[in-house]
């Protein structure tokens, strides 16, 4: 049966709702009555949508149950970042946060120095809080640097799976990621052809 011979959805809907009137009525009834598969399928889809609307929304699960399921994501998402094939996972060597007294930890302008090993490289960074925002200023260099190393690469701050800042390393392996709001980050980067990840990195006055 050719397409243009099928009644419009509007006519099928009117037929269903008992509102089909006028000159097309008999033609539509005859067509549908003859057992057109296409129209039967269209009507069935219409009918199942109407039935689902009529039943209304499904009851929402309790909020506490939903919240628990939402929270289970946190642990796993770091695993995805860390398990990516070929990616070096940076290992934390030093975190000055551990040594700071709590009062200093939350004060504006306080610096937190950190050091990671990234394969054959060292990543040294300083996290500075500036009234609600933070900056990470750092440098990646070969661990056996004799002062003549030329570093090529880039670094990217990711939050909630989204890139919030991405910059190339300068020739000395230096970088500054600025204007980061407080939260949990992953630093993704490439240095001298190797991909690496630092995660999770908590930044903020509660960190």
């Amino acid at each position: 049966m050719r397409n243009e011979l099928h009644p419009r959805l509007r006519d099928l809907a009117d037929l269903r709702d008992g509102r089909l009137t006028g000159t097309r009525t008999s033609a539509v009834k005859e067509h549908v009555g003859a057992g057109c598969d296409v129209c039967a399928t269209a009507s069935a889809r219409f009918e199942s949508a109407v039935a689902a609307i009529a039943e209304g929304p499904l009851p929402a699960p309790p909020r506490s149950v939903v919240r628990q399921a939402v929270h289970m994501f946190r642990a796993k998402k770091w695993a995805w970042l860390l398990e990516a094939p070929g990616r070096i996972v940076a290992s934390l060597v030093l975190d000055q946060r551990m040594e700071l007294v709590p009062a200093l930890r939350s004060s504006v302008g306080a610096e937190r120095r950190m050091l990671w090993m990234v394969g054959d490289h060292e990543l040294a960074a300083c996290v500075v809080l500036r009234g609600g925002h933070a900056e990470i200023v750092g440098q990646i260099l070969p661990a056996e640097d004799d002062g003549s190393s030329q570093v090529v690469g880039e670094i990217e701050a990711m939050r909630n799976g989204r890139s919030v800042a991405k910059i190339p390393l300068d020739a000395d392996g230096g970088f500054a990621l600025r204007g980061l709001s407080y939260g949990t980050y992953a630093l993704l980067g490439r240095v001298d052809g190797a991909e690496f990840v630092v995660a999770p990195l908590e930044i903020g006055d509660r960190a």
Binding site: L9, F46, A54, P59, V65, M72, F73, K77, N160, G161
Partner: protein, 191 residues
């Protein structure tokens, strides 16, 4: 790079893709969207509130573990519903064992199943609610007035409420329903 937070209107495939990039909001949107089906499946299979809550968590834990291996991300809702049914049936088998051991579980609490057809109806209810959220407020309100409100308002009432002529209710409804079926069709074709 600028990306916006996951929204209710994002399709399942893009939510899954964002989850795999570590996007908390996308995961939360996925749980909000398909959580009611998971909860309804556990309820239909007669699980206690506590067991339903356990099934809810185990279903989402499975989803999390398997997300990167889901073959049809656009059809992730149907897949999650089936995981929920599987997890619920496991708990039900426990009820059966408890009945044999302790006899204090009623017979009717053991022989419950959720046939594919019923599962699809639950999924459809969930999809239709999602689609209503994407076809525009006026269309959604009209379809709800026509097919959800009980008692169903007369065409005169609808005409007055929506500020339209009675003669244009039919065509408008058809256009809204076409939009709705278009939204649902995208889901269906993906399976």
């Amino acid at each position: 790079m600028t990306q916006t937070a996951a929204k209710d209107t994002d399709d399942d495939a893009s939510l899954v893709a964002r989850c795999l990039e570590g996007d908390d909001d996308a995961w939360a949107a996925l749980v909000e969207r398909h959580g009611p089906v998971v909860w309804a499946v556990a309820g239909r299979l007669g699980l206690s509130h506590e067991d339903a809550a356990d099934v809810f968590q185990s279903t989402w834990r499975t989803a999390l573990e398997e997300l990167s291996r889901v073959r049809e991300p656009a059809a992730v809702g149907g897949w999650i519903a089936r995981v929920a049914r599987h997890q619920s049936m496991r708990v039900r088998r426990g009820y059966g064992i408890a009945r044999k051991s302790w006899q204090h579980v009623a017979r009717e609490d053991v022989d419950v199943t959720l046939p594919e057809e019923d599962l699809e109806k639950l999924e459809m209810r969930s999809k239709v609610q999602g689609a209503l959220g994407r076809i525009g407020e006026r269309c959604a309100d009209l379809l709800r007035a026509l097919y959800f409100e009980d008692p169903s308002p007369s065409y005169q009432d609808i005409a007055a409420r929506f500020g339209m002529r009675i003669g244009s209710i039919g065509p408008t409804r058809a256009r809204c329903m076409e939009k709705m079926l278009g939204e649902l069709g995208g889901d269906r074709d993906a399976q």
